[in-house]
Symmetry: C2
Subunit: 360 residues, 2 copies
Amino acid sequence: MMRFATLMKHPADWMTSGDSETSVVLTSRVRLARNLAGASYPGWARKNERKEVLSKVQAVVKDLPGMQNGFLCELSDLESLQKQVLVERHLISREQAARNEGSAAVINRKQSLSLMINEEDHLRIQAIQPSLNLEKAYRLAHQVDQELEKKLCFAFDAKWGYLTACPTNLGTGMRASAMLHLPGLVLNEQIGQVLKGVGKLGLAVRGLYGEGTESLGNLYQISNQSTLGESEQDILRHLTKVIGDISRYEQQARQRLLKNEPVMLKDRVGRAAGILTHAQIISSKEALNHLSMLRLGADLEIFSTSLQEVCDRLFMGTQPAHLQWAAEKKLEPEARDILRAQMIRDQLHSILPPAIDISE
Amino acid sequence: MMRFATLMKHPADWMTSGDSETSVVLTSRVRLARNLAGASYPGWARKNERKEVLSKVQAVVKDLPGMQNGFLCELSDLESLQKQVLVERHLISREQAARNEGSAAVINRKQSLSLMINEEDHLRIQAIQPSLNLEKAYRLAHQVDQELEKKLCFAFDAKWGYLTACPTNLGTGMRASAMLHLPGLVLNEQIGQVLKGVGKLGLAVRGLYGEGTESLGNLYQISNQSTLGESEQDILRHLTKVIGDISRYEQQARQRLLKNEPVMLKDRVGRAAGILTHAQIISSKEALNHLSMLRLGADLEIFSTSLQEVCDRLFMGTQPAHLQWAAEKKLEPEARDILRAQMIRDQLHSILPPAIDISE
C-alpha cells in the first residue's frame, strides 16, 4: 500500500484533464452507500462492532483489482492536516474526517476511486471523473460494488433496495453529483433563477464542500435528491440532461456577456488578474473568487488558455490544508494568506508577469 | 486676456512642483474675503448692483501686475463643464460655480492666483502654492489685496476689521488651508485621533472639495476656523506649526508601517497597482483611493518615484470634469468610468506595464 506523501505527490487524475469540455462541468462524482447485513450502523455500533466491520471490509477491499498499490489508512492514523487535505480533494467527506479509530479511507493510485469505511454507512464507494461523465463515474463505482458484493453480504430489501443509516439514501444508495463553474450566470444575474429551476426538478444545489457550505468561486455542486423509486440509470440520465442544459445556459451567458458587455467582462477578469498578480496577502475565499474570473477569462480566450490548467491547480492548491501540506508545516491563517498570495504570483508569473515585483 | 482652452492647456504651477517635500502636504492656499464699502453683499444685492460692483472691480483687476495675460470671465459665459473644471482645480468655489450673470472669475496665467467677484463676498482673493508654504501663499494674496486697496474702498471697521457677508469671515477675512495626503495615518488607524486633535486646536478638517465633502483618496484639507481676534501672521504661524506636526506624524506612521507591517503595506500598494493597471471601468472615487495607495508606494520608493508626478496628474485628470474636458465632450457616467480606466492605464503604462493588455 502507498504512503500518504506518495498519494499527495500527484494531482488526482480528474484534476488534470485539460479537456476544453471541462470549462463548465469540472468533475462528476458518484457514490454508493452500502451496509453489511446484520451489523449495526456505525452511528450506533459499539467500538468493537465498528472494528469488526472495518476488518471484514478492509480484508476484501485490499484485494480489489482497482485498488492495487492504493492508499489505505485508519482515520486515527492520519493527522488532522492530512484529513483536511483529503476533504479538500473530495476524497473523503467532512463527516469522515471527524472520525477516528474504527473508520478508514481507501484511495486508489489515480485518486479516481475512494472508499470510506464506517462513515455514516459501513461503506461508501466513490468514483470521480473529470468533465460531465456521470455514466463512467457510476460504472467505476458499480464495478467496485459488484466485486465487493461477491464477498460481502450487503443489507438489501427486495422492496426498499439497499438499506442505509439515513432514510434519504435508501434504495439505490446512490448520490451522483457534478461540480459546475458558473461565473457567466452569476455575472448575468441569472443564477438565482437557474438554481430555483434545478430545485423544482428535484435536484439539490450545494457549495464547494457539500451540504451547508456556501458557494465560493462561482462553483456549484448539483446532485440528485431522491434515491428511491427510480433506477440508477434513470437518475443518471435525468441528472446528465439537467447538467448539460445548465452547461449550455452558462455557455450562452458567457457569449452574451462577450457580445453585450465586453467592457464589464474585461473589467472583471482584468481586475482579477491585476489583484492575483499583485496581492501579498489573500484569503482562500478571495482567491477562489478571483481565480474563478481568471478561469473565465482563459475559457473565453481573453487570456491565454494555458491559464485554465494553472487556475484549476490553484483552485485546489490554495485551499488551507493543501497550502500547509505544500509548506510542510501548520501555519496560522495570516501566514497562510501570505503564502497563498506568493504561490499564486509564482504560478501565474510566466503567463501573467506583474507590473512590478514588490515582494523583495 | 487668455482663452479658457489656453488656461487649461497647462497644469497649474502648484500641480507640478515635484518637490519631495510635497509627499504629505500637497498644496497651501490662502484666500481673503473683501467687500466694497457702501454696496450690498452679493447675496442680497439686486442684479444691477451686482453688475455695478463687478464692473468696478473688473476695471481694477485687469490692471493688476500679477494678472497680465490672465483669464477673466463672467460665470454666465462659461459652460457648466468649464465651471466644473475650475472647481476641480480649486480655482473657483462650488458656490461660485453655481452663479451666473454678475459674477466673474479671474485667474492668472500660472493659476497660482484667482479672484472670485461676487461670490458670497464682493471679492475673494485666493493664492495657491505647492507644498507647505502658507506664508508665501499669503504674501501673494496680500500683494493683490494691497494693489486693489489703492483703487477700491473696502468695507473695514476699526474694531471688527474687514466686514464680510458671513460673520465667520469677519476680521481678517482670511481662510488659510493646506491639502494633506495622509494614507499612513489612515492605514495605521490613527487618523481619527489626529483629526480630533486638530479640532481641539480650533482648526477645521474637510474633504477634497471643502466644506461638507467626504475625504477621498486619504486627502484632508485643514484650515483655520476663526478669523477674528488674531493677526494674519499668528493664524498662519499656528496653522503652519500644526500642519508641520501632522506631516511628521504621517511620515512616522509610514516608517512604522514599513518597519512593522511591510507585507500589509506592500499588499495595499500592490493591489492598487494591480487594479489601476488592469481595470476597464473605474469610478472617480475608487480611482482616487487607489491612486492614493500608488502615491504612497512611490513616496516610500516601493515603486519608482517617477510615479509621484503621474499620480498627482491623475489625481486631477481623472476628476469628472477634467476627464470630459480632455475628451472634448460631455460623457455619461459610465462612459467616463471607461475613459478614466483607459487614461490611468495609458499614463501608468511606461512605468507599470499590465500583466496583460486586454483592452483590445
